[in-house]
Every structure is written in structure tokens, then in C-alpha cells.
Subunit: 682 residues, 2 copies
């Protein structure tokens, strides 16, 4: 039975990839606009590719070193033979994620000028079509490639979870560098462009005279498209492998070789993938009349179809299971899946409430900005901190219920449920940056302001769904991490009493693990401000030294700025990355697996809090500024607006660098520990 669903999964993934090909072709065949638009788009493409090339070179240097270490070390350390197959799976995981990022970003950077052109000639309706197709290429590449790779590794390794875990670790390593590197890149460029361009030179956003504007637009793609894609690629794979690892442990405990427990995760993700295709179709079909409604509708439809069809499938294939004396019902995995989907939606709506200008927190933040920038930042911090309460409580309750219903397998299945519709979520999230870029091109190419209005409208339409998507990303990361840690505890054969709070090693681990997200964040902040600082210097230099630049008669040296951002991102991502990679083996081999368990949970707890707070403080300050720009409390140019701009700039690295990177820190440390678990036994 398991093989049937594995094959269905593979077929669904292939269908997604065929669809990716068709969408990509349709995007490329659109009118790319006039020469100037094409030139700008080409510069963005070139910059993005150059960054990816540098980033991938570094990532694969790490990948090779780690793969060699994996192949060689276990033989020395322990009498286990899993070294090189795990290393291979690890390499495949990194390659698949990199490939998804490359494809998604190539098409996204081609879709941008085509969206602009569509807005110019066909209005909102056609522009939406192009932008959604661009986003869907990323979304469906992520799930298609993730599943194809996973299925291959799973079949070849005959379902050996240790090897399969290596695949997830490859995806995780890629995600870490994509998120932190991309996050540093995008905010270094953004802050640099804004602080000199808007504040000092007094020229508008996306003005072609600003040398950092191309870098800023490249940043949207490498951060929000490739970074986000790699992030959800990882969560998606990890949710599945955590469920598989726990399923195998359950089978062992029940004394059976196979059960439906290993088939169900494949069944649910296959259903979720097909439901995502349906969701994308729906958006493309009905998006023209009501874009906002269509995006929400597509998201809801894919979630609803996933729930209903998964329920039917599990009804047929589910069977009672037990582990350590606890017996769970046949439909337990289904209920857990539903819990996952519901809590993801609730967490998404809380993010929306705290960060949208439709609700009180952002409006009050805008109002308080009248007392100056310090109060804006203080209140913005307070909003983010307050916003952690409901998501954490929901998550804690969801974990307890999922466990009550289905044990740790239930917890892992809740994560699978949450992530089954990843294809749709990434589509919606990637569509935003395409629209954003399209607006930038309209501005730089000097098109009619009407075109910019259309792209701005497109951009804002995606914001609500994007907020919900962020909630999904954070919630699912936490669920996946809890699943991974559980799998780690099982795999390292730790006794309950060994990882007790009465053990001071566990307490010490919790303290150290809790501190890591703080230290990690501090290094990311510093990397962003260093990159921004160097960008500011360069832009100032160009304005000073290139004659005719301000008058618009000379061209800026955009390539130099792209290079500075790339360099800053690469430099900045190395230290945090190395910490994330080295802490689990160092703690595990010196202080033991109990301390490591404490470290993982400590990182999960504070990482979740820092992540939610950063995302929501940043989002709230961004939208408070926009709300003031709409004419409230004095509008653009007022002192209130100036205070809000400071808040927005403080929020930039919070929401786009630190917030998203913390998710990966949590997941990467957990998956590395899971892979190392066999070496830590005893």
C-alpha cells in the first residue's frame, strides 16, 4: 500500500512539474515591453543570477565538506555503515532545493517586466495573470522538486529513515543560506537605497538615478522569492520526514514491518499537491474579476479539498496503532491533520490582525507616532511582543491535542497537514515580489503613473494572503521542529528520565539553546547594518563622482551596488551559518544528547518568540507608515510620517532578515541533530 501512495506522490509531483513548464512557457511568451523595460529586467536577472551563483558556490562548498565528513566520520566513531548513502541523500536535498530556487527566480525575474507590460496594455486583469503565473512557477517547483527528490531517496534507500533524514538536512542547509543571505542582501540594499536616495538626495523610491535601486529590486527576488521558496521547501520535506521517522518507530514498537502510518504522509501530501494545482487554476480563472477574493478563495479551496479528500483516503487506509501502551484510533492522523490546518489559519489571522492597517494595533501605532520616533519604535516593539501570545497558546494547545489524539505521530501529522498546501502558499507569497518588481520597472522606465497604480494595487492585494502565509510558515516551522525533536529523542534512544527538567544538563541546554536565536539575530542585524553602511558610502560616492547622474544624463554604476550587496550578504551569512551547523555536533559530542535535547527545545522556544515578534513588529511598523502615507495623522512629509519612517527602517531587518532566518535556525539544528542521533546513542 505504501508503495502505491509513494508512486501517486511521484505522479502528482511530475504533474506539478509539467504545469511548471507550461506556466514558464506562457510567462516567457508574454510581451516583455519596450527596450528600456527589457534592459532593466535583464539587469535584475543578471544581478539575481550573479548572487545565486556566489551563494550556491559557498553553500556547495559547505555541502561537499559536510558530505565528506558524513561519509568518513561515522566509520571512525561508531560501527555504522550509513555514512555515504546519507551523504548522497544530503547532497540531493541541497541540489533539489537549489534547483527549485533557480527555476523559480529565473521565471520571477522574467515575469516582472512582462507584468508591467501587461498592466500597461491590458490593465489589472492581464497583469494579475502574468504575476500569478510567475509566482506559481516558484510554488509548484518547490513542491514538485521536493517530492520527486524525496520519493527517489525513499525508494532507493528502501525507506531507511536515517538516509531520508539526510535529504531533509540538505534542504535545510540550503534554506539557511538562502534565507539569511537573501535577507541580508535585500535589506542591506533596501536600507542603503532609501537612506541616501529618499532621505539625503530627496529623489523618489525606485528612481533610476539611484545606483542602489537595481540591487534593491534584485533583493526582492533573492530574499522574498528564492529565500521563501527554500524555507518552505525545507519545512515541507521536514514535516514529511518527521512523520516517517516516528511512523517507523511506531511500527517497531508494534512489532510490524509496515503499516499505513508510513503511507499516510505520502497520501496527504499528494492530495495537498493536487489541491494546490486546483487552487492555482481557480485563481487564474476567477482572478480577473476579483483578485483579492480569488487569492483568498484559491487558498481556502486548496485547504478545504486537502482536508476533505485526506479524510476520505485515511478513512479507507487508516488503521488503529499503538506505541508504548497508548492506543490511537484509525482516524487519529486525520484529526491531527485538521488541527494543523486550523491552527495554521488562526496563527495567520493573528499576524494579519497585528500587522494590517485595518485593525487597531497598527492604527494606534500610527497615532502614537505623533509623539516621535522613539515612541513609534517602543510601541512597535510592544505590538510584536504582544502578538506572540495567541500564536504560542494556540500552538501549545494544538500540540497537546494532536498528541492526545495520535501521539508524536499526531504532532508530526499536524505539521504535514499544515504544509500539504505549500504549493498554493508559495504561489501566493511569490506573486507579491513579482508585482513589487513590476512597479519598480514601471517607475524606472518612466511609464505612465497609471501603470504604477495598477502594480501597486496588485501588490497590496497580495498582502493579506501573504500575512496568512507568514503565519503558516512560522507555525509549520514550529510544528515541524517539534516533530523533528521528537524524532531525535526517539532516534537517540533517550529515556524519559534522561531528558528531565530535574537534570541540570537539560536546564543548561535550555539556557544555551534559548540564547542562540538572540546571538544569531544580533549577527544578522550587524550584517545588515554593515551592508547598508557600505551601500550608503557607494551611493554617496557615485552621486559625488559621476557627473550628470543627478540630472539624469549619466547612468549609475548599478553593477557595483549589486556586487556590494552580494559581498555583504555572503560575508554576513557565514558566521551565523557556521554556528547553526556546528552547535549540534559540538554539544552532542561533548555535553551529550540530553544537553543537546535541551538546546533544541530552548532554541525552539525563544526562536519562535523572536521570529513572531520580529515579523510582526516589522510588519506593523511598515504598515503604520503606509497608513500615515494614505493621509492619516498629517500624511506624507509630516513629522509623524518622519517618525514612522524611522520605525519602518528599524522594522525592515526585523521582518525580512531576522524573522525568516530564525525559522531555519530552529529547523536546521533539529534536523542536524536527528541525522547525528545514531552516533550519539549510549
Amino acid at each position: 500500500m505504501e508503495l502505491t501512495f509513494v508512486i501517486i506522490c511521484a505522479l502528482a509531483a511530475l504533474a506539478a512539474l509539467v504545469f511548471v513548464g507550461l506556466l514558464a512557457k506562457s510567462v516567457v511568451s508574454c510581451d516583455p515591453g519596450n527596450q528600456k523595460m527589457q534592459d532593466i529586467s535583464a539587469m535584475i536577472q543578471e544581478g539575481a543570477r550573479a548572487f545565486l551563483k556566489r551563494e550556491y558556490t559557498w553553500v556547495f562548498s559547505f555541502v561537499i565538506v559536510i558530505a565528506i565528513a558524513f561519509s568518513v566520520l561515522p566509520g571512525f566513531l561508531k560501527d555504522i555503515e550509513l555514512g555515504w548513502p546519507t551523504a548522497m541523500a544530503f547532497v540531493i536535498g541541497a541540489v533539489m532545493s537549489a534547483l527549485a530556487g533557480y527555476i523559480g527566480m529565473s521565471i520571477a525575474t522574467k515575469a516582472n517586466c512582462r507584468t508591467t507590460q501587461a498592466a500597461k496594455t491590458g490593465g489589472l486583469k492581464s497583469a494579475l495573470g502574468v504575476a500569478v503565473s510567475g509566482g506559481a512557477v516558484m510554488g509548484l517547483s518547490v513542491v514538485g522538486l521536493a517530492l520527486i527528490g524525496l520519493v527517489v531517496v525513499y525508494i532507493v534507500s528502501k525507506g531507511n529513515t536515517v538516509i531520508v533524514n539526510g535529504y531533509a538536512m540538505g534542504a535545510s542547509l540550503m534554506a539557511l543560506f538562502a534565507r539569511s543571505g537573501g535577507g541580508i542582501y535585500t535589506k542591506g540594499a533596501d536600507m542603503g537605497a532609501d537612506l541616501v536616495g529618499k532621505v539625503e538626495a530627496g529623489i523618489p523610491e525606485d528612481d533610476p538615478r539611484n545606483p542602489a535601486v537595481i540591487a534593491d529590486n534584485v533583493g526582492d527576488n533573492v530574499g522574498d522569492v528564492a529565500g521563501l521558496g527554500a524555507d518552505l521547501f525545507e519545512s515541507y520535506v521536514e514535516a514529511i520526514i518527521a512523520a516517517l521517522a516516528i511512523a517507523v518507530a511506531c511500527n517497531l514498537s508494534m512489532g510490524v514491518e509496515k503499516s499505513s502510518l508510513t503511507a499516510i504522509p505520502f497520501a496527504v501530501v499528494a492530495v495537498g499537491l493536487l489541491a494546490s494545482l486546483l487552487g492555482v487554476f481557480y485563481v487564474k480563472k476567477f482572478g480577473s474579476s476579483n483578485p483579492q477574493g480569488a487569492l483568498m478563495g484559491g487558498t481556502y479551496i486548496s485547504a478545504a479539498v486537502t482536508i476533505v479528500v485526506s479524510g476520505i483516503v485515511i478513512w479507507f487506509i487508516g488503521e488503529e496503532y499503538h506505541r508504548g501502551g497508548d492506543v490511537y484510533g484509525r482516524m487519529a492522523p486525520f484529526y491531527a491533520t485538521v488541527i494543523g490546518v486550523i491552527s495554521g489559519v488562526v496563527i495567520g489571522f493573528v499576524s494579519e490582525y497585528y500587522t494590517s492597517s485595518k485593525y487597531k494595533p497598527v492604527q494606534r501605532l500610527a497615532e502614537n507616532s505623533q509623539s516621535g520616533a522613539a515612541i513609534t519604535v517602543t510601541e512597535g516593539t510592544a505590538v510584536g511582543m504582544e502578538s506572540t501570545a495567541i500564536p504560542v497558546i494556540v500552538l501549545a494547545i494544538a500540540v497537546m491535542i494532536a498528541f492526545e489524539l495520535g501521539g508524536f505521530y499526531g504532532v508530526a501529522m499536524a505539521a504535514v497537514g499544515m504544509l500539504a498546501t505549500t504549493g498554493m502558499v508559495v504561489t501566493v507569497d511569490s506573486y507579491g515580489p513579482v508585482a513589487d518588481n513590476a512597479g519598480g520597472i514601471a517607475e524606472m522606465a518612466g511609464l505612465d503613473p497609471e501603470v504604477r497604480k495598477i502594480t501597486d494595487n496588485l501588490d497590496s492585494v497580495g498582502n493579506t494572503t501573504a500575512a496568512i502565509g507568514k503565519g503558516f510558515a512560522i507555525g509549520s516551522a514550529a510544528f515541524a521542529a517539534i516533530g523533528l525533536v521528537s524524532a531525535f529523542l526517539v532516534s537517540a534512544q533517550l529515556e524519559e528520565s534522561a531528558v528531565s527538567l530535574i537534570n541540570v544538563h537539560v536546564i543548561a541546554g535550555l539556557l544555551i539553546g534559548g540564547m542562540l536565536p538572540y546571538y544569531f539575530s544580533s549577527q544578522l542585524f550587524r550584517a545588515v547594518s554593515n551592508a547598508a553602511y557600505r551601500m550608503i558610502e557607494e551611493v554617496r560616492r557615485q552621486f559625488r563622482e559621476i557627473p550628470g547622474l543627478m540630472e539624469g544624463t549619466a547612468k549609475p554604476d548599478s553593477a557595483r551596488c549589486v556586487d556590494i550587496s552580494t559581498q555583504g550578504a555572503i560575508n554576513g551569512m557565514l558566521l551565523p551559518g557556521i554556528i547553526a551547523i556546528l552547535v549540534p555536533p559540538i554539544i552532542g559530542f561533548t555535553l551529550g544528547p540530553e544537553t543537546l535535547a535541551g538546546v533544541l527545545i530552548g532554541t525552539l522556544v525563544t526562536g519562535l518568540l523572536v521570529g513572531i515578534q520580529a515579523a510582526n513588529s516589522g510588519g506593523a511598523m511598515d504598515n503604520a507608515k503606509k497608513y500615515i502615507e494614505e493621509g492619516h495623522f498629517g500624511g506624507k512629509g509630516s513629522d509623524t510620517h518622519k517618525a514612522a519612517v524611522v520605525g519602518d527602517t528599524v522594522g525592515d531587518p526585523l521582518k525580512d532578515t531576522v524573522g525568516p532566518s530564525i525559522n531555519i535556525l530552529i529547523k536546521l539544528m533539529s534536523v542536524i541533530s536527528l541525522v547525528l542521533a545514531p552516533l550519539l546513542i549510549g
Copy 2:
């Protein structure tokens, strides 16, 4: 033997109180200066007393309700008879802490104008004497009253730890309201006074025309003197009672009724108290020639004497002990004490490194302020986050070593060691606000600028030792909390396997507990900005409506501002306080003691991080501003300075409201749980 040391403790405490009387008399007999200075001082005194009266009224309303609940409920819930004696001990704890705060603050508010006058007539030398005496009254009242109360409760209850725990809980409740209320008061007044006075009206700090200046000066006393005193009163008591509770459990496990384990904590604090008296003598004797050196010297001498004499005492009275199969040597409590003192000093120095303008972090922060306020705040946040790394690692290692050496008793003794010299630490910390107030009075009374220079010098001398004192406060709070949680686990008779990370209830507890410091902080931030907002409105109103105020011919209505701050502080402290009080019983009685254990550790981990980050981010931004004011990067009035002022204002509630209050949240929740533990068994 135990009784001998309890009596020695009582005698040492009485000696401290006699010394308090002599110091108070010497302060009061100093020349209070001219009528204007006396009037200002009287207004500050009046404002501080009015606030304390309101605060104590609220606190004792809570105290009475909780005492009644304690007397009545246990009889209903369980068949235990400890209700009313615990309630009595609880009331005594709150009264003793309140009394210490009242005495300390009364003398501190009398010492301020006398310090100004001494600076005017006798220069730095005499001013230091008066200010140190003022601070020592607070420092020695805290330890004297804390110990007298503890000894009485201990003797009357015949060492029943459940009853003694009630005493600590009373101290903790008082500390929560003193810290959060005082913190909101001082920063609401400070931000209000600065934002209108300095920024809008363009008048200098402490200008007598500013209606909020008196409230600001009152705030220094209620926040930094009474709040800090209550905080360390609590840590001091809790370190001792945690050691006693664990000692009793060890005795039980060894099957003996008494051992030296209950005597040693009393011995060490008696030694520490006498050593603190010595330290204060030293400062008063040698302070005139080299104030900075004398303050550091006094601190070191009291720590060194405590270590040496404790070692000798434990050498004589210590005995081998064992618990659950582990055997610990006779000198184990001494080594643990030393670990505590050393790690406290290291943590203090790390705070100093990250917050003093002598070192790179603050200098770089000042330099980066050249890129604007957003970069200042981002970099300031990064500095605070980075600064958590070493203290947390030191703490984790110290806990592991202390446990290795002496089990949980060793961990508790490390906290006792750290806190034994509380008398000296509070003296040094309380001396700062007296000097600060003295400067304010010099300004308001229009004295020669030379006088202000002397008081500023006095103030800055205290800063280094104050930073080390803050490190002590945070480190000792963490140690005390770990001791309390251990005592809770022992008292609630929880099995190792019940509080395992494999139990999802524990994980859920860790998540919820981790979130509480975030939510708690968000409410404090909001209370400060609300109080500041109302203060701003009132000051603007007075400038508008009182004719001749700006010209200096009319007097401001300072009492109205004092009232606004008081009201804001009282309103703001209630919600966070109620949360801290109610969470342990609610979680304990609904989700069980395992979940509660998770909540306590979760709160400890994130609370520690938020506390250190808030204190150090705030301190760094404050000192970066001062560094710029000394003439670096453009100096006062430059754009860089303006950016740094925004950073300083953001840092104000971080370092003086959120940072210190979080310590209490951790401790209060732990001690409430410890008191409730007998009701949660089974």
C-alpha cells in the same frame, strides 16, 4: 548548631539596623542647604511618599486577599493544615520589604539636598560621604530587615519550609509591584519631561520651569532606590529559602532530622552581612581621596572577606552529605559559593563591557548613529542581543559545576554566595540616584554650575559599580530561580520521567512560559508610553495655560504631574502583576504540575534573555548618547546626537522598566509555585 548560626544571623542583622540608625541620624543632621533647596527636596519627598502610600495600599489589598485565600482554600482542597501560618509568614515578608523600602527612600530623599549642600560647601569629598550614607541606609535596611523577619519566621515555625516559603512569597509580591510600578513611574515621568521640555520647549534638563521635573526626580527614588531595594530583598530571601528547602529534602533523603546543611546558609549570609558592613566602612574611610577606587574596593573587599571567612566556617561545620545515591564532600557548599561569586562578577563585567563608553560596542554604536536613528536602534538592539551570549554560557556552566559539586543544594548555595554581599551591592546602587537627585536640586535651585559638576562626577563614579551590581541582580535572580524551581520539583514530588521533554505537556508549558516575559514586557512598554503620553499632554497644557511659566515668574503645578505618574504607574502595574500571580495556580490546577514546571523553566529562559538584552541595549544606547555629548562624532546638537537621543529614549523603558521587572516575574512565579507545591502533589 543550626540555632547558633540563626542567632548569629539575627545579631548581625541587628548590628546592621543599629548602623542604619546611626547613618540615618548622620544624614539628617547634615546641613540641608537654603530654603529653595529644602523646598525642592520636600516636594520630592512628598511625591515619593504619596506614591509609596498608593502603591502600598494596592499591594496590601492583594496581600490581604491572597492571605485569606491561603488561610481558607487549602482546607477545602487538601487535608493540610499549613494555611494560616503560611499566610502570616507571607504578610510578614511583604511588610518587611515595604518597611525597608520606606526607610531607605525616606533617607534617600533627605540625603539628596544635603549632598548638594555638601558639594557646595565641602566639594566632592563631603558630598560622597553624604551620598554613600544615604545609599547605605537602603542597603543595610534591606539585609537587616530581610534577615530579622526570616529568622523570626524560621524560629517560630520551627524551620517548616512551607511556612518559610510564604515569607519569600510576600517579599516577592512586594518586589513585583515596586519594580514594575516604580519602573513605569520613573520612565513615564522621564520621557514626558524630556519629550516636551528638552525637545519641544528647548529648556535644559531639570529646569525648574518644567512641571514634570519633580515627578522625574521622584521617579529616580521610587524606581532606582525603592524598586531596586525590594528586588534584591527578594533575591536575597529566596536564595536562602531555596537552599533551606533543598537542605531539608537532603536531610529527609539521608534520614536525619538536622544536619549542617540548614546551618550553612545562615552562616554564609551572616558572614556576608558583616563583610558588607566592613565594605561600607571602607568606602566611607577611603572614599574621599579616590571615590571610584573606594567603591570598587569596598565591593571587592566584602566579596573577598565573605569567601575567605565562609570557607573557614564551612571547614569547621561542614559535613559530607548525600542525596539519591550521589555523595558530596564536606566543602562542596563552599566551592559552590565561590562559583556563585565568580560567575556574578563575570556577568557584571560583561554588562560593563557592553554598556560602558570605554569599550568598543558603545563607541561603535555612537559611530553608527551617524547613519541616523534607525541604525542606532538596530545596532542598539544587536548589542543587547549579543550581550546575552557570555552571561548565559557562564550561568549554564556555573549551574552544571555547582550541581556536579553539590547537587541542587550546590546550585542554591551558589545563589546564596552571590547574594551574601547584597548589603554592599545595594549601598553602591542606591548611592547613584541620590547623587543624581542632588544634581537635579543644584540645577533647580540655580546653584553655581560647579556644584552640578561635582554631583555629575559623583554620579558617573557610581556607574561602573552599578553595572556590576546589575549583573549581580540578573545572575542571582537566575540562580535563585533555578534553586526555587528545583525546590518546587522536589516539593511537588515530581518524578524525573514526569517532567521529561518527551512529555508534550512539558513542551507546551515551556512554550507558554517562554511567551509570558514577552507578553508581560509588551504590557509594561504600553504602560510607560501611556503614562508618558498623558504627562506630555499635561506639561503642554501647563505651558499653554499658566501665564508666566516660561518666563520663570510663575510656578508649575508639579503636584499634578506627580499625580499623573502615580496614577499611570498604579494602572500599569495591575495587569502584569495579576498575570504573574494567577498563571501558576491556573496552570498548576488545570494542566498539572508537570506543565507548570515547564512554564517556570520557559519563563526563566526567555525572561533571562529579555532581561539581559533590555538592560544592556538600554544601557548601551544611554551611554552612546553621553559619549556623543562628550564631543565625539559632532557632539551635542548634531544630527548624530539627535539620532542617539532617539536611541536613548527607546532604551529608557528597556533598561529601567522592562529589564528589572522581568527578574521579578521569574522569581515571583517560581516562589508562588513553590508555595502551592504541597497542594499539587499527586
